[in-house]
Symmetry: C2
Subunit: 344 residues, 2 copies
C-alpha cells in the first residue's frame, strides 16, 4: 500500500484539546471540561494498519454529546461527529488531503484508529459544516426516522419536538415537501419564528410558555397526531401519548430532556399505545449508514434548488466549545450548533 | 327476509343479570356489582333491523373486563365476550339456533343491537367455551400480537408476562412450535408448574417471589430478550426495557397491573427503546377481525392434533361472576377464566 505521507507528516504540532475532567452528574458545567494544550507528531506509526491522523475543522455540538460523555474516560477528549481533513493515512479508504466526516475528538488533531464511521466528502459545493448537520448524522437521522420508521403519507399530521434543532428542522421540511400538516415546538420565541417563517412549518409554539402541554397539543391537533418525531422524552412524550391518533407512529430519535437526570422521569400514559394502537420505535442512526448514499441523493438536489434550508449556530474556536455545549441545555443555540476549529 | 321465530320466541322468561352498581375506583369489589333478576320477552321488535336475542352460555372473565367497566353506565349489565345461542333474529347473518360468539352482556339473555362483533361458530367438535379463549379474542390476540407485530424467528428469545392467562399460554405455545426459547412469568407456583409441564415453556417464574425483576430477567435471559409479549405494564415493563436485545420487539396487548390504578405508574426506562432500537406496538384485536379465518385455519389443526393445549378455569353460575372477576386480580384463576351461564 502506498503511504501518502511527506516530511510534513512528521512535524510536531500543538494540539489544543477539550478534556473531560471527571464524570458529569446532572447538567454539564464548563468546569467539567478543561481546554488544554498538548503536542502531537502527525505521523501514523508503522504497523498501525487502518489508522489516520486528521485535522479537525468543524465539530458537531449537540444534546447527544452530553449523552456520549457518560462513556468517555476522564482525562480524555470529548468525542463526537466532526468534519476533518486527512493529514496522514495508513488507511486504504482515505488519503492525505481527503475531506472526511465521522466520529472524532474535540481537539485540533485526532488519531483515528477505526475509520468505520468515516465517510469521504465528495460534494464540496455546499458548506463543509453541513456534514455535521443536514448532510451528516442529524440529516440521516431525520431521513431514517421520518421516512423509514414512520411511513408518512400526504396530509398526515406531524409533530416535532426540538423542532429548530439539527434534526427537527429537516424533519419538518421533509414533512412539508410531502404535503403534511406540520407543527413544531422549541424553547424560544426566536426559534418559533424561525420554524414558521424560515422552515415553513404550519404552526409552532414555545413549550416553555405552555403550562399545560396536553392543552397546547389539543389546540394544534384537534383531531390528533399521526406522526410524532420524538427528540425530548419526559413530560412532552406523556402529553403526546394523550394526543396520538389511532395507528399513529412515534420515531424516538432522542430524549434530550432526560440526559441530565440521574433518574429519568416516569412516563404514565403508555396505555395509549394500546388504546390507539400506536407504534413507537427507537433507532440509532449508526444502524442505517447503508442508507447514506440514498439520503444524499434525496437531499442534495433539494438544498441546491433552495427547497430545503438549514440554519446553523456557529461557535468560533475550540476554546469556546465547553460553553457551547453547556448552553445547549438552556436553548442558547438557534439552529444546529457547530464549533469551528479551523476553516481549512 | 324470513324470520326464524316461533311462538316460543314470545315467551317471557327470567333474566338474571350482573349489574354494575356504580363506577369502580381502584380494584373492583364484589359490592360494585349486583346480581338481579329481571324478565324479558325473547322477541325482536318489528322494525329492529339487524337485532337479535341470544341465550348466553359461556362468558369470558378477563382483566380487560375491568378496563371495559370504565365505559359501562351504572345500572347496566357488565359487558364482555361470550358464547351464545340465537333465540330470535332479525339479522340476516344469523338465524335461530345458531351458535355465535361476540360482545354480549353478563346476563342470561341479551338483546344484541349490533352484530358487527359477532362470529358464527362453525366448528363444534371442540369445547364451545374455547370460543371465549383459544378460539376467540384471546386466541386471536395471541396470534396477531406474536406473528403480525413481532415477526418472530426460530431461535429467538421470547418473554411473556401473565403467561398462564388466556392469551399468554397460547403465545408461549406458538413460540415453542416455531422453535423459540420461551420464558413466562405468572403469579403462583401452580401456574409456574403449568407453564413448564403442560405448555412446554423452557422456563417460568413466579414474579411475586422476585424482589428484583431486572435480576430475574437477567437470570433467564443473560443475552437479552428478542420479543416481549406485554400483558401487565408497570414495573415489569420497566424491568423488561432494561433487558431487551438490539432490534427487539414488544407487542403491547394489555397492561393488567395498571387497570385498577387512578394514576398509572411511571415507566422510567424508555430511553432503552432508542439505545436498543426497540419497536413497541400496541394493538386492539378488534382491528384484526379480518385475520380470524386465517387464525382459525392455523390453530384448529394444532388443537385437534394435541399440539396445542388450553387450560380453562371454569366458574359455574352467573351468580358467581362478581367474585370471579374480583379474584382475577389476586391471581385466583389458573388458566383462562370462563363463567358458565348455561351449557345448552
Amino acid at each position: 500500500m502506498e503511504r501518502n505521507c511527506t516530511a510534513s507528516c512528521e512535524e510536531i504540532v500543538r494540539n489544543k484539546q477539550v478534556i473531560l475532567r471527571e464524570h458529569v452528574r446532572g447538567f454539564p458545567r464548563e468546569a467539567d471540561m478543561e481546554v488544554r494544550d498538548g503536542s502531537v507528531k502527525l505521523k501514523v506509526e508503522d504497523g498501525s494498519s487502518g489508522a489516520m491522523w486528521v485535522k479537525n475543522l468543524y465539530l458537531s455540538c449537540e444534546p447527544k454529546t452530553r449523552h456520549l460523555m457518560k462513556t468517555i474516560r476522564p482525562g480524555s477528549p470529548i468525542t463526537g461527529f466532526g468534519v476533518a481533513r486527512v493529514v496522514d493515512s495508513a488507511n486504504p479508504k482515505f488519503k492525505k488531503g481527503d475531506l472526511v466526516w465521522g466520529i472524532t475528538g474535540w481537539e485540533e488533531y485526532s488519531l483515528i484508529a477505526s475509520s468505520e464511521t468515516f465517510f469521504k466528502i465528495e460534494h464540496t459545493d455546499v458548506p463543509l459544516s453541513y456534514y455535521n448537520g443536514i448532510l451528516g448524522m442529524p440529516g440521516l437521522s431525520a431521513y431514517v426516522g421520518f421516512f423509514e420508521l414512520c411511513s408518512p403519507k400526504k396530509g398526515e399530521s406531524v409533530y416535532i419536538s426540538t423542532a429548530a434543532g439539527g434534526v427537527g428542522q429537516l424533519v419538518g421540511q421533509f414533512a412539508k415537501l410531502l404535503g403534511c400538516y406540520v407543527v413544531g415546538s422549541a424553547g424560544s420565541q426566536e426559534k418559533v419564528e424561525l420554524l414558521k417563517n424560515k422552515f415553513g412549518f404550519d404552526e409552532a409554539f414555545n413549550y416553555k410558555e405552555e403550562a399545560d402541554l396536553d392543552a397546547a397539543l389539543k389546540r394544534y391537533f384537534p383531531e390528533g397526531i399521526d406522526i410524532y418525531f420524538e427528540n425530548v422524552g419526559g413530560k412532552m412524550l406523556d402529553a403526546v401519548l394523550l394526543n396520538m391518533k389511532n395507528r399513529g407512529r412515534i420515531a424516538a430519535c432522542g430524549m434530550t430532556s432526560q440526559y441530565n437526570l440521574e433518574q429519568p422521569e416516569g412516563i404514565h400514559n403508555l396505555m395509549n399505545l394500546i388504546l390507539k394502537q400506536v407504534r413507537m420505535e427507537g433507532f440509532l442512526v449508526s444502524s442505517y449508514y447503508h442508507l447514506y448514499p440514498k439520503f444524499l441523493e434525496t437531499v442534495l438536489p433539494h438544498i441546491k434548488q433552495g427547497k430545503i434550508t438549514y440554519v446553523e449556530d456557529i461557535v468560533e474556536g475550540l476554546e469556546n466549545a465547553p460553553a457551547a455545549l453547556v448552553g445547549l441545555f438552556s436553548s442558547h443555540n438557534v439552529g444546529k450548533r457547530v464549533i469551528v476549529v479551523s476553516r481549512e
